[in-house]
Symmetry: D2
Subunit: 430 residues, 4 copies
């Protein structure tokens, strides 16, 4: 059970402004959704501790902290591209401008770089007209970059520009950066809300049912698997090998395997596999080729990292740089079959850039609007150091420190992996 302190969202202060929204139902500060929903756990919780863990419900508040007419918002997108970034930007602007009446919205260019004046990026003026059609495109109209920047310098920029609320759209590293900003803001006793919209194409942020862009990524990856399948079938002993995103969590690979119905082997970071020896991947692969003449392998980028020993460096976002398992497998498979003089024809596809840069699917588009509207509700109510999420179908506010504590993973004993194994017929490769 989560400690109660972990789920309490920070407020900048008392809310004294009447919300300009004309919604039929405002959300009370005490409305919460329970975290665990398994009956036994809930029962135990109430019996043993008199309560259960819960998250604060998102949604519009009757009283808000910021006076819209006197407030200025800023939006920043960080890290790698992800479908839906423009949808979130658009919905933030629309909600701020039309629903709350915040008329000045700064677009921060190229991630946290844009908050460092020496880069000379300036700000974009965001207005409903500027953003009206951006959702039709992939990418981010603001540009992005990896990595953090000097925290006091960034807070200087926010302060000098009179920013009341900053929306940071990004993943694990970005949210850690947002935490640092909050600490510095608190130290200076500023009234600036920092609200995160979690963005990870890998769907690996804790306490969020699903992150935006994930579903679109799976849909794009599914098309690639069809290609890999045709390439495999088109050649004698053809092998289609596809690497997809999934640095620490194999959700994209797992869902793509299910969606495409053509994958024979799925390799995830969470499930170790043997390559060589009886019952290893190469052994199974050869037997399948002999029986069926073709095979499709789908590997998440973080799988099989045990094959790359030693120290590894980190990228600008602070992520450990993985060995390239796709290229490794391609070379190992080719070398193995050459060694045993077995004809095979492997086609390797690494579609990452073409998956992550497409426009959001309609379902992701809807989800982005919902996340963005709730992010605005939170910021206007003076909530800070938190991100917006969805949990058990309720939109929630989650303290940032909780969100970045650990990553969500595919449970090797859980139902998702069980369903994938059932659907693909993949043997145990451990």
């Amino acid at each position: 059970m989560l400690d109660d302190r972990d789920t309490i969202v920070t407020n900048l202060g008392e809310c004294r402004v009447d919300s300009p929204l004309s919604v039929r139902r405002f959300i009370g500060e005490d409305e919460r959704v329970i975290v665990d929903v398994e009956y036994g756990r809930v029962e135990d919780s109430f019996k043993e501790r008199g309560r259960a863990s819960s998250f604060e419900n998102a949604g519009p508040r009757r009283k808000i902290f910021f006076d819209p007419a006197a407030s200025k918002a800023a939006i920043v997108t960080c890290g790698g591209l992800c479908p839906g970034l423009n949808n979130v930007i658009r919905a933030l602007v629309m909600e701020l401008y039309y629903q709350y009446g915040v008329k000045t919205i700064l677009g921060v260019r190229y991630g946290y770089e844009g908050l460092i004046p020496s880069y000379g990026h300036g700000f974009l003026d965001l207005h409903p007209d500027t953003v009206d059609e951006i959702h039709a495109k992939g990418g981010t109209m603001l540009g992005s970059s990896r990595g953090n920047q000097n925290v006091p310098a960034m807070v200087d920029t926010l302060e000098e520009n009179g920013v009341s609320m900053l929306f940071t759209i990004g993943g694990d590293g970005t949210l850690r950066g947002a935490r640092d900003l909050c600490d510095e803001i608190a130290r200076r006793k500023l009234k600036i809300a920092v609200v995160g919209v979690p963005k990870t194409i890998d769907n690996d942020i804790s306490y969020v049912d699903r992150t935006f862009g994930f579903e679109t990524a799976v849909a794009e990856a599914t098309k690639v698997l069809d290609s890999a399948h045709e390439e495999a079938r088109g050649a004698r002993n053809g092998i289609g090998l596809v690497r997809v995103m999934g640095r620490d969590s194999g959700f994209i690979a797992a869902y793509t395997a299910l969606a495409s119905n053509v994958v024979n082997y799925v390799l995830l970071p969470e499930v170790p596999f043997r390559l060589h020896g009886d019952g290893g991947l190469l052994d199974h692969l050869k037997r399948r080729l002999e029986a069926k003449r073709h095979a499709v392998i789908l590997v998440a980028e973080g799988a099989g990292q045990e094959y790359f020993g030693g120290d590894r460096t980190r990228d600008a976002s602070g992520n450990v740089k993985h060995g390239d398992i796709g290229v490794f497998l391609r070379d190992e498979i080719n070398a193995h079959f050459k060694k045993i003089d077995f004809h095979a024809n492997l086609k390797y596809i690494d579609p990452s850039y073409t998956i992550r840069s497409v426009p959001a699917s309609p379902d992701d588009a809807v989800y982005c609007i919902m996340l963005a509207q709730n992010a605005v509700h939170g910021a206007m109510a003076g909530k800070t150091d938190m991100m917006v999420g969805r949990w058990n179908n309720y939109f929630t506010f989650i303290p940032l420190h909780l969100a970045v504590q650990k990553r969500k993973k595919v449970d090797p004993d859980g139902y998702l992996w069980s369903i994938v194994k059932g659907a693909t017929g993949q043997p145990d490769l451990a």
Copy 2:
């Protein structure tokens, strides 16, 4: 709070057969997921009644009821087309055949008709090879029909053909039909499991987070809205009017309005609207055309039924036949603007058949596999008179009588409608 009796799933008998599945974790009979997840309600439940309502978790059981080698399955699809039907059929067959070892699977042709010998439809033999690529197509490989058939005659057919379990994929009417089958089966003391996979493109079945095909339908409808938008913009005072499915519930219309970002007015069955007079739709429409030169209206088929008085008949599925609100609005708008001599150019689009007959989106494809695998787990464990669902992200078994009790609706005071109003800027038309 749901009465406990309402959530108890019927079992055909004691499970004595070892499951042939090699999954890492079986689901215990006592594993359940709570129904309401709002903290206050859960707390009250436990405090006042010592418990909360819960649903039985789906998933594979260690002991099953049917001996796979001696069992025969049958699959029937009923009612209108819905994206994902073939995916469900495919996944049922794959799971039955490869995971459990049920080798005889009958495909019932053209809905419940196929269980009435006098139609002469015969059965299709379903086998992994037969169904391997059907998911790439919309529609249903089995064919479908509306309406119920003579119940004893259908049970005769099941009995004579030695069917151990029947999977019925269909909506409200189909599930009622399944209930009738269960009653007759119980009366005859037969050991036949009847398991429903809920199918409603409208997403209006209670106690299911989302029904398969809904998301695909929204995606297709979103494309149509783009067309309506261009038609509206392409003409002076152009109006794009689109009617989408949504007999009693406006979920498709609400989500499509969000996904497309081009809708100005959304009309749902759940939210009454005035057509005439100050502040009515026609008044707002005229003012918008004067200001912007174009407008897009999205109407769910069940909206505005108050404009069609009197008695209405029912279709073969037992649904009340609605007045055609799309054609009605088209004619009313045209007549009104003609009467007040205001030039407008309305294009009416009713895309129903092209929305419901497409292949499932990747996300729906995944969901169909998950539903189907769980339906098989349930049937093999001898559960009957129930349907498979998903609730709070857990797959569940829901008694049929509960599922058909009432329809899920868009709450006019809830967050979905609030978000739609925020995103479209639509005024209150009541």
Copy 3:
């Protein structure tokens, strides 16, 4: 053989300005492409008349008529939507602005209406930035309308606004309107070039291999046929009936039947068919349903007009208003099967608006650029009263009076219809 006079393009005057283009090869005024390419006809032509008919090649001229810096262009789109309109507008603007240096380009709103001041539409200022991303959308950013307007008043507007060249993007009616403008311009001895870019989704303009948007329309219609096929297969004796565009020419229907591979009966304006009696459509349809349980019928809107006797009115574009053959067939088929007490389940789909309002396919997008660049080359060289086309893979300038003389049709004895009949297996229904 075409008379030589018919193929001569009008010039506004002598070309004295050096082209600013830095192309490697300019097109000479004497470069022409022959019209008929059948060897026998060409041979006869040269033997008997010493020459063959030919069209003037389009392409950039070394000397041009208008001084770019002193010139003003205007663009108008007329008639119904067609994929590619925005691509043509974009490419006209880009070519005028960047390649020739014409910096003032007026966007005429809502077709020829936009040239009549009393409508109060004003002009849009077209600039590369304005049009940079419009090709991603269907429709026309300028708006459109049907029908002609007062010719002297339109020429007044061109004159008063100092327009040097007008690009009219439209079909038969629009090109006739352009001819009228040219006559009035000539009467006033003005130096205004009027250049048409032929737009007809039906692909029925003479002396043009293919019109832009046609291919995209076929692609969209093909998707609809897949839906019709699944609807037909999904019901006992299911019939999918689809009406597509094709007022006088059945090209869309013919190509869609080939592309989709699911059509059993194709009905074109050019090929009469019998409905009743032995060997008529209804007879064949019943026999097919008895054998296969489903059927797909594709009908062009202009087919079977012999079933609608009497006088018919014309729409604003001057086209004869057709009887609605789709609705007629739906009702006739339903009535016939009811009368003979034969169960059938017909689904009727009329997808016109959703076909014509989509963005251009990549191939159409390329073609639009080629047409637009050549239209600009022609206008800058002072050519007028003509349209740009493609013939035998050469881009050409065609005098307007020739283009509007007659419509291109599917030849019932030609190879296209023969291929369609071969591919669909459709019997002779005459």
Copy 4:
């Protein structure tokens, strides 16, 4: 002007069998289409030589060579995947089976390998039911392989299996292989027709307007360019670098640049470019990044081969193995900017497999049917050592030796390259 001998198609013998086709118009043996259509060239031809070069029209013949009931056909697909392979196979089978009545059709597995018994591939039995839905998939249902096989052994196989006509679907190397087969068949005085259906995704076969699959490839590549554009815009000084197919001819790159409207630099095999120095690519690129912050480069695989000196080997199809210009450019650009300490962020995309393995676009689907039907007409009429093509919108029969003489290329002085330069604004990089 082509020599007449070059355009004469070989016949196996006199046609004495009545065609079973019921088409309205058969094609006479003297029907031909002229090759060059420029008026001046045609005029000169007739004046100076009394004739012009021409190709034999394809189409159905009234008298055919083979008795359908006694004939056996075989189909082989060779070389790399190309959209439309399955469409051609399907249409060949449908035309042979339903229109001509050839009931035995052998599917040769994995290219020419399938004609060598020692591989043990066997044949597939092709029947309308087998191929009915294959067009919905990319790839080839027959499998493919590169390279030729022992010619006498392949002819032995044809002879032993009583094959009357072989349809070879492949590119340059495959057609050369087909020529060898024809020589051996002639040597043995066998009556086996060998008819090619030209397949090259690069669109580089001479005397064919366009090869099937090309348009689909451009459409797929266009999507990738959108991704590259968003990746470029999403990063400070972002560069999207995409390599597409185009071994010797840059048609895919040229058309994709036009279709996508986002390319700044297009590099083709036909147009040399300088990398370094003033006015070279790197110089221009830096200036563009300074001005616009992003750039997109599209390179055909055969471009810039002058940067890879020395001897190069050939692949199994006999094609010279190119140096990898995509990887080379990526590394050169990165090294250059690193050297001059200029921040840039390059994303490299090589989408070849995902482009070539997709299903044919509707327009390509239509074209495949037309090619296939005409290939069957030719083979049934005993024509051999030829391929089917389209020229000046007429379907033609072209002797194989002519088809493989040289490759079609983008003319650096022609209109296509001129249009591309106009549309992209790319400077001269030579």
